[in-house]
Symmetry: C2
Subunit: 210 residues, 2 copies
């Protein structure tokens, strides 16, 4: 009975394998998106046999569930409202700052952008996870604002937040693959300064008029 010479000392370490699988999942999503994700590709990227994925996570969905719990796909209310002072800012100023922070927060999360793009096409575990946390945090944020800034403006505030949030999401996702849209550049930070200035003007116009 000969021992297999070619077999390297296989650094037997289940925790490390689990960690490598989760890390590989993030890398694949960041590089290729959620479209072509599969067990074979994941195992290949993690440098382990796919049977280990089934043993440790049960399923590709299990990997995604655990991955979702280990990452923060969305901003928290505290993260966003840090330094927002109702005593020294108007409602419009607060909204402008929050919108800037929202854009910053999602633009620097490539995996979140990939999931945002994917959720327009198909449903999945990661999409559901992102949707849940986003909807909850957004409503929390709106409640935070309502509790601190007194007069409900004439403007339909939820609709305003929806529109601007939708625009920011769309442009952030789109900026990954397209540099110019409607003749306006949308990729670099300088491009975004122009976009955010336009948002500032929109907010100011909407909340001061009437």
């Amino acid at each position: 009975m000969v021992t297999n010479v070619a077999r390297a000392t296989t650094a037997r370490n289940p925790a490390a394998v689990r960690a490598r699988v989760l890390a590989a999942l993030g890398a694949i999503i960041e590089r290729d998106g959620l479209a072509g994700l599969g067990v074979n590709a994941l195992a290949r990227a993690a440098g382990c046999d796919k049977v280990l994925i089934y043993r440790y996570f049960g399923d590709l969905d299990g990997v995604c569930r655990e991955f979702a719990e280990s990452r923060d796909f969305w901003w928290t209310v505290e993260e966003l409202v840090d330094g927002v002072d109702p005593a020294r800012m108007t409602r419009a100023q607060a909204l402008q700052l929050l919108m800037r922070r929202h854009a910053q927060a999602i633009r620097r999360r490539p995996i979140t952008l990939a999931i945002l793009a994917h959720e327009l096409t198909q449903r999945s575990t990661l999409v559901a996870a992102l949707e849940a946390v986003r909807e909850r945090r957004t409503l929390d944020l709106l409640a935070w604002i309502d509790a601190r800034f007194e007069p409900p403006a004439a403007m339909d505030l939820p609709a305003l937040a929806l529109l601007l949030g939708a625009a920011v999401n769309y442009l952030a996702v789109r900026g990954r693959g397209l540099a110019v849209m409607n003749g306006v550049p949308i990729r670099s930070d300088a491009d975004w300064e122009r976009i955010l200035s336009a948002i500032d003007a929109l907010i100011a116009g909407a909340l001061t008029q009437q």
Copy 2:
């Protein structure tokens, strides 16, 4: 030499096969999007053998190219500006009407919505075709406005159009699979009336202030 009894009279008609393939492509995109599109599924939906697709169109891409030429994925400037009268409308009123028509035009084109969703994820022949016609028409429209409405406002007009267009695209695509976003319903025509009213307010605020 026996004749094949099971062989039905195979209504030999290449033009009809071509037409059925193109129609089936539209049906598949409308139902399942662009993600899982393939030659096998297309041939199955068209009720013909896939070898005919290769013979008549050379390629799946060939089908897409011909499909793109046979449909109008985007509004035309004439379609959008019909009845817009610079003598009797302010710039803000014109923009509000155009925005409404834009939303209406893309919301009633399910294939356009599917391509819009897909272009955030991957590039393809149909995505490129849509991008080309959209970018051209949008710039034409902006030029049309600039030529007819005199004073350039203080507002960054291209950025305004970009933001509102992005928001409408995003919400139109999203409304297919999600009924409520940020607590605001986004699916029915009544829901959209609320959204469009908010857009009206944004445009009015942005163009009348200062």
